[in-house]
Subunit: 110 residues, 2 copies
C-alpha cells in the first residue's frame, strides 16, 4: 500500500524531539539559503566587510546584478542577512541573532 501524499506539509513528527515548528523552519530555510556556492561567497564577503552595498558584491562576483539581487533576496527571506536602504543604495549585513540561533539548533542536532 503506497502513500499518496505528494508533499511533506502534513508531517506530524511522531517521535518526541526538542524542535518546535519554528525551529524546524529555521533549520530548513537557513540551510537552504546557505546551500549554494554563490550565497556562501556573498555571506563571507559580507562577513569580512561588515556591511556592504549590492554594487560591491556585483564587482566581486562573476554574476549578473540581477542574479546577485536574487541571491540577496533568498538570504534576506531566510533571515540570514538584513538590508537597510540608504538613498539609492542598499546596505546589507549579517543577521547575527539568526545565525546564532541556527548554530545553536545545529548544536542540538549532534
Amino acid at each position: 500500500m503506497t502513500k499518496k501524499l505528494n508533499s511533506i506539509e502534513s508531517f506530524i513528527p511522531c517521535c518526541i524531539d526538542e524542535f518546535t515548528e519554528e525551529d524546524r523552519d529555521i533549520l530548513v530555510s537557513v540551510s537552504k539559503a546557505l546551500g549554494n556556492e554563490a550565497r556562501i561567497e556573498i555571506y563571507n564577503f559580507l562577513k569580512m566587510s561588515g556591511v556592504c552595498m549590492t554594487g560591491q558584491l556585483v564587482d566581486h562576483l562573476p554574476l549578473a546584478q540581477s542574479t546577485i539581487s536574487q541571491h540577496l533576496s533568498v538570504l534576506k527571506k531566510a533571515g540570514v542577512i538584513i538590508g537597510n536602504i540608504e538613498g539609492t543604495a542598499t546596505n546589507y549585513c549579517i543577521n547575527q541573532e539568526r545565525m546564532k540561533r541556527y548554530h545553536q539548533l545545529i548544536g542540538q542536532m549532534i
Copy 2:
C-alpha cells in the same frame, strides 16, 4: 559591461577568509542536504533512534520508499549520515564527526 560566466566554478575568493576549499564544500553540501523538510525529519528520526533501517523511515514518513531512498542518498553523499549494509537491510546512523565539523564551521561564520 556584464559578466559572461554562467557558473560559480571559477570563484577566486578575493577576500582573505579562514575557509579552505574543503570547508566551503562542507558548508555548501551539508547545508544543501539539510535544506529540505523530509531530510530534516529523516535526520531527527535517525537521531532519536540512534540507528535505523530504511523500512522504519518508510513507515514513519508519508513518502514512497524510492523517494526516501533518494533522500538517504543525498544525506549520505553530503556525509551527514553513514549506511551499513546488514544482510538485506541497511542501517543508517548520523555521522557525528561530519556534523561536529559543520557546527564548528557555522560557528566560525558568526
